[in-house]
């Protein structure tokens, strides 16, 4: 980042010195507003990086506040070391200023009932603090307040093994969510150990491959056979393009599927693409097209209309009709969607083969 960059005036100090969740919320909004202003003057990777660094800082400050809060309430200090981890877009280092909560906790073994009780209370309080800081709760309940995503290393292992063995549709979905895990606060060695265990459990076999593909190949059609971009037909977003489910999520899911298949442990989609590139698993030009499409997806995702609501930036995931009328945007969108279509044709073909091989 050069010294001229408008991102240099982002002030992390105000985040670190926030003493309450409302201070934190205000500091977050102030810094995010600066970032939003700077959106068009820096590259999308640079912008995405700083937005995610900011979210990480805010969330680790929230974890600190929560620890302090617990101590003040007479619950003491954490009985065993723990790691606060993100799933979803946070885990992939792809949050927007308006992303919701997808998080969990991994704590060390050996704390017994006492540790379980402590972290249960800790999880409930932390998700409230994060909500007060402006992170809406996750609709799918992938949150520290949900016991399923807040466990000791040992019980995490049992859960992962169970998901892997059962391999029903829902289990495989949980595995793909878990695969985006990234540590933002606490003891990162716990997260590293979790990751080793996960990669071990996810070692490739035909059944898992078929299950992963089966979980991935369905996605919202965003391009019709005439090559036209499909926009919403009805409702308040009629005529607009759903960037999240039409472009971004299909790319994330497709690339994640390939990454898991090739045993890649990176979580950010761009890094996953880079690793696939290094493995030379696919033709280079094709991987380049995929990377370009994903960069556009990140860009479009932040070009959706946003506004401030109760001190928090809010946005929907739609490109407005005015934005779509810009020739350059529309051309880039179409190109990206063509790449998505190629990706899914390939995945669907693999899915057919995998299903046929299945006993």
């Amino acid at each position: 980042m050069n010294s001229e960059s408008p991102l240099n005036n982002v002030d992390f100090q105000s985040i670190h010195s926030a003493a309450t969740s409302s201070d934190l919320r205000l500091a977050r909004w102030t810094e995010e507003s600066k970032l939003v202003q700077a959106f068009s003057s820096v590259s999308i990777e640079e912008w995405n990086g700083i937005v995610n660094r900011l979210q990480d800082e805010v969330m680790s400050q929230a974890v600190k506040l929560c620890e302090r809060n617990m101590a003040e309430a007479g619950m003491g200090v954490p009985p065993v070391p723990f790691a606060f981890v993100l799933f979803g877009s946070g885990g992939r280092y792809e949050q927007t200023p308006w992303s919701d909560q997808d998080n969990g906790i991994i704590f060390a073994d050996g704390g017994g009932k006492e540790a379980e009780k402590y972290f249960e209370e800790f999880g409930l309080r932390l998700s409230v603090i994060l909500e007060e800081t402006g992170y809406p709760p996750c609709q799918g309940k992938v949150m520290v307040s949900n016991g399923m995503w807040r466990q000791s290393l040992g019980s995490w292992h049992q859960q992962l093994v169970k998901w892997r063995e059962d391999s029903r549709w829902e289990d495989v979905r949980y595995l793909t969510i878990a695969s985006d895990m990234r540590c933002v606060a606490g003891d990162s060695s716990l997260a590293a150990e979790w990751r080793r265990d996960f990669m071990d459990i996810m070692r490739r076999d035909e059944e898992l491959e078929a299950a992963l593909l089966g979980n991935t190949v369905r996605h919202k059609a965003a391009l019709n056979i005439l090559g036209q971009v499909i926009t919403e037909r009805f409702g308040e977003h009629a005529g607009e393009f759903d960037v999240k489910y039409g472009l971004y999520i299909p790319l994330v899911n497709g690339v994640r599927c390939l990454a898991l298949y090739y045993g890649i442990s990176e979580t950010s989609t761009l890094e996953r693409i880079s690793k696939l590139h290094e493995l030379e698993a696919f033709p280079r030009p094709w991987m380049d097209a995929l990377r370009r499409a994903f960069q556009k997806a990140l860009k479009f995702r932040s070009m959706t209309t946003y506004h401030t609501e109760e001190g928090v930036l809010q946005s929907d995931s739609y490109l407005s009709q005015e934005t779509l009328r810009q020739k350059e945007v529309f051309r880039e969108l179409r190109e990206s969607l063509v790449t998505v279509r190629q990706l899914y044709r390939m995945l669907q073909r693999q899915h057919r083969f995998a299903e046929r091989r299945r006993p």
């Binding site: 059609a221 965003a222 391009l223 019709n224 056979i225 005439l226 036209q228 499909i230 037909r233 009805f234 409702g235 308040e236 977003h237 009629a238 005529g239």
Partner: protein
């Protein structure tokens, strides 16, 4: 005991059978058989076309929300009743009675075959006038059913009564007189075999005006004018409705030949009708799949109906390949115009204007392109179309007829519905529309248990 009954029944039956068969045996002449056969044929066509009312009731009821379904299905019976009485009293006379080029003025309060002399336009086939009356009535009732489609889910019940009467007495009979009652379009040689323009475009244009004057249903458009989806409550009913309509169309088109003889020409008409319907349905499904990325069932249903509407006017004048083309064009055209009207802010709940109006216009024009000389000679109306060397003559007549019908019905419907809107009001209140017309107009739901559950779950929140 049982045997006694049977015996009595047989004796009773033979009492009737004997004199009749003796009477018939007297007159087994060729003309008597021909007229008898044709009468039966036309009567059967009447029955089939009448059954299309069941199709409309199911199609419309399936396409609206549960809270209006009982009302929408029930009003079909009401409008049929109105159609019978109004058409018998005045409509038949205005439409087919002897008169000038614009309307007829003899034969009101139709009294049966004794009034045959008042209906010169309908005597050529030799089919008794009572049967011709029933047959013509069933077509008029279809036109009214189409017109009422545009009123769905927001018009007062009284509108159906008042507008139904006026439509059956003034609007439909005048148009029918122009083309089929010896009026000015008939004299020019306009080809409209079973009524793409007369029946469908007429009904649909009235529906368009109703849709326009009623304004969209509550919640159809957001604050910024973007359309919301208001899906019908039961696609299965709609599908069954369309199959019944398709079936009824085998009376509508082939029946319009008024004869079972003529080397089975009615079979040829049935074939072109069937081809067009199939082509329209398949084409509409494929085009919806191509455009939305999902194969849309309501679009396919509209495609079938649009193709049937389009082939209605041209079924006897065109070759099988042309029937397929006419069907495909109708199906695809309707798909796009339905989207377009919806985006333009015209809320047509059952797509009456796209399906019957746009396809009716295309059907009226289509013989101007595709009519062959041989078939036009067989039917003895008009000449060949553009691509069979007829030049622009027939196409011009068709276009004039189409524009004439559309403009006249548009203006007249505007006057009638406009006056009704000013004098009595045509739309229910917001509160009534929200609670549903089943309750507001009739006091009971078509789906009492389900609506009860829905209303209770609403209260719990």
């Amino acid at each position: 005991m049982k045997k006694k009954w049977l015996l009595a029944l047989l004796t009773f039956g033979s009492l009737f059978a004997l004199p009749v068969s003796a009477f018939a045996a007297d007159e087994v002449t060729a003309p008597a058989v021909r007229i008898g056969l044709d009468s039966l044929f036309v009567f059967m066509a009447f029955v089939l076309v009448f059954f299309m009312q069941a199709g409309f009731a199911l199609l419309e009821a399936g396409s609206v929300r549960m809270k209006n379904a009982g009302h929408v299905a029930g009003k079909t019976v009401l409008t049929v009743g109105i159609a019978v009485i109004a058409f018998w009293a005045l409509g038949f006379g205005f439409g087919f009675g002897n008169g000038n080029g614009f309307f007829g003025y003899t034969g009101f309060f139709f009294g049966g075959n004794a009034d045959t002399g008042s209906f010169d336009a309908l005597t050529a086939s030799g089919v008794p006038m009572v049967i011709m009356f029933l047959f013509q009535f069933s077509f008029a009732a279809v036109s009214l059913a189409i017109a009422c489609g545009g009123l769905a889910e927001r018009a007062k019940l009284s509108v159906y009564i008042v507008f139904g009467v006026l439509f059956m007495i003034i609007i439909y009979p005048i148009i029918a007189h122009w083309v089929w009652g010896g009026g000015w379009l008939a004299k020019m040689g306009m080809q409209d075999y079973a009524g793409s323009a007369v029946v469908h475009l007429t009904g649909a244009t009235a529906a368009l005006v109703a849709t326009f004057l009623l304004k969209p249903r509550l919640g159809k458009y957001g604050k910024d004018g973007k359309p919301n989806s208001i899906p019908g409550h039961n696609q299965v009913l709609s599908v069954l409705g369309v199959i019944i309509l398709w079936f009824g169309w085998f009376g509508f088109n082939p029946g319009s030949g008024l004869t079972a003889l003529n080397d089975g020409f009615f079979g040829y008409v049935a074939m072109t009708t069937n081809l067009a319907a199939a082509a329209g349905g398949v084409a509409a499904l494929l085009v919806s799949w191509a455009v939305f990325g999902k194969a849309d069932i309501p679009s396919m249903l509209n495609g079938v109906l649009a193709a049937l509407v389009a082939i209605t006017g041209s079924c006897a004048f065109v070759e099988p390949w042309a029937a397929v083309v006419i069907g495909v064009v109708a199906g695809v055209l309707t798909f796009f115009t339905a989207q377009w009207f919806e985006k333009a802010g015209l809320d047509d709940p059952v797509y009456a204007f796209s399906v019957h109006g746009i396809a009716g216009m295309w059907g009226a024009l289509s013989t101007g392109f595709f009519a062959t000389k041989e078939l036009a000679d067989t039917v003895a109306v008009g000449g060949p179309g553009l691509i069979y060397g007829g030049g622009f003559k027939q196409l011009g007549i068709q276009a004039l007829g189409m524009v004439g019908v559309f403009a006249f019905v548009l203006v007249l419907s505007f006057i009638i519905l406009g006056i009704m809107k000013a004098v009595m009001g045509i739309r229910v209140t917001e509160e009534e529309e929200t609670m549903g017309l089943d309750i507001s107009e009739h006091g009971t739901y078509g789906y009492p248990e389900q609506m009860g559950l829905l209303n209770n779950s609403g209260k719990d929140k």
